[in-house]
């Protein structure tokens, strides 16, 4: 973690809240990284190429898909799987675009590279911060996760599965994401989006390549927009605000 202190910002200041917030999210990433590392050793890809997915793609589920599908699926099927799994990042990009508009150009180009689920989930709760404060928070989260990921994947390649299956750490990510979903709900349309997104994702869970995530998300966003319109029509115009409340 100290590694990020010199690189997180030009002023060399790490956001302490970011470091605290990241702990529970980094814990589930560690066994996941080990699993990816183990998969690398069993992949039909050359090991050094499979390892490079960690620093270059930096997306656990997509990496795991690429590493395990290689050899059993066609090249284009592997690429499609990776891109479909990562389609949700387009929505993260859309959601944070207004916040990144106030960032310097270098941050707009470099920041998104690190936008994994955890970074988005935490950063999306900090958009009320000043541009400099947001940047410090975002980069602290991003670089810490990047450092951890690029340590645990090679460790997984060396050590293999050190965590017993009975610990059920495979279920830690949904537990974390359940909490993050609820933290992100601040208004009725957002609640509608989450409920519909969850149910549609449940209905489409059997689709391949985790397509259900994207379909559920699109349905949720559409439902949220409809809820938004209904509320706007009922409420007097003066009560609708663009800015979000700082507190739920």
């Amino acid at each position: 973690m100290t590694k990020t202190s010199s690189t997180a910002t030009t002023r060399g200041i790490v956001d302490r809240q970011a470091l605290t917030d990241i702990v529970p999210l980094a814990i589930p990433a560690i066994p996941f990284g080990f699993v990816v590392g183990l998969a690398v050793t069993e992949s039909a890809m050359p090991q050094w190429v499979a390892w490079l997915t960690a620093p270059l793609i930096f997306a656990g589920a997509a990496q795991l898909a690429m590493i395990t599908l290689a050899g059993t699926a066609s090249l284009w099927a592997v690429i499609t799987a990776v891109l479909v799994i990562n389609t949700r990042h387009v929505m993260y990009s859309a959601a944070l675009a207004p916040t990144f508009r106030r960032q310097p150009r270098w941050m707009r180009w470099i920041g998104p590279f690190f936008m994994v689920d955890q970074t988005f989930a935490l950063a999306a709760l900090q958009t009320h911060r000043s541009p400099a404060d947001f940047r410090r928070y975002y980069l602290t989260v991003a670089l810490t996760l990047y450092a951890i990921w690029n340590i645990v994947v090679p460790l997984g390649m060396l050590v293999g599965p050190v965590v017993p299956d009975s610990w059920r750490l495979d279920f830690a990510p949904p537990v974390m994401f359940a909490g993050l979903t609820l933290f992100a709900i601040k208004r009725i349309p957002a609640a509608t989006a989450a409920v519909v997104g969850g149910f549609v994702s449940l209905a489409t869970v059997d689709l391949r390549d985790r397509l259900g995530i994207v379909i559920g998300a699109i349905a949720g966003v559409a439902a949220g927009a409809i809820a938004e319109q209904i509320i706007e029509r009922r409420a007097p115009r003066s009560t609708s605000t663009v800015s979000d409340e700082p507190e739920p």
Binding site: M45, A184, S201, G212, G220
Partner: protein, 105 residues
Amino acid sequence: MSTTAALIALACGAIGTYFARSGLILLLADRALPASFERALQNVGPAVLAALTINLAVGSDGLGGVELAEVAALVVAGAVAIWRKNLMWTFVAGMATLWILSAVT
């Protein structure tokens, strides 16, 4: 898989993932969005996170593979998230529920 094919997959995956993450940030950077669109974007996070939660919870075994302990873990985690507004407590409560119920059943 040959080294060349693996490198092509890696390059396509890396470039595609980068632009999935950066595309709209770079495109929308210098333009103001309509207020209604910005409000709609606030719903993206909850929708994606909820879909992700369910998809990851059900996993690759399909609905038939979902255990009662897993559902209970998510419910308890959600309740604690609302109550404590703290991720660590959410994680501990959810996983503890899963471990206890898995041991009992």
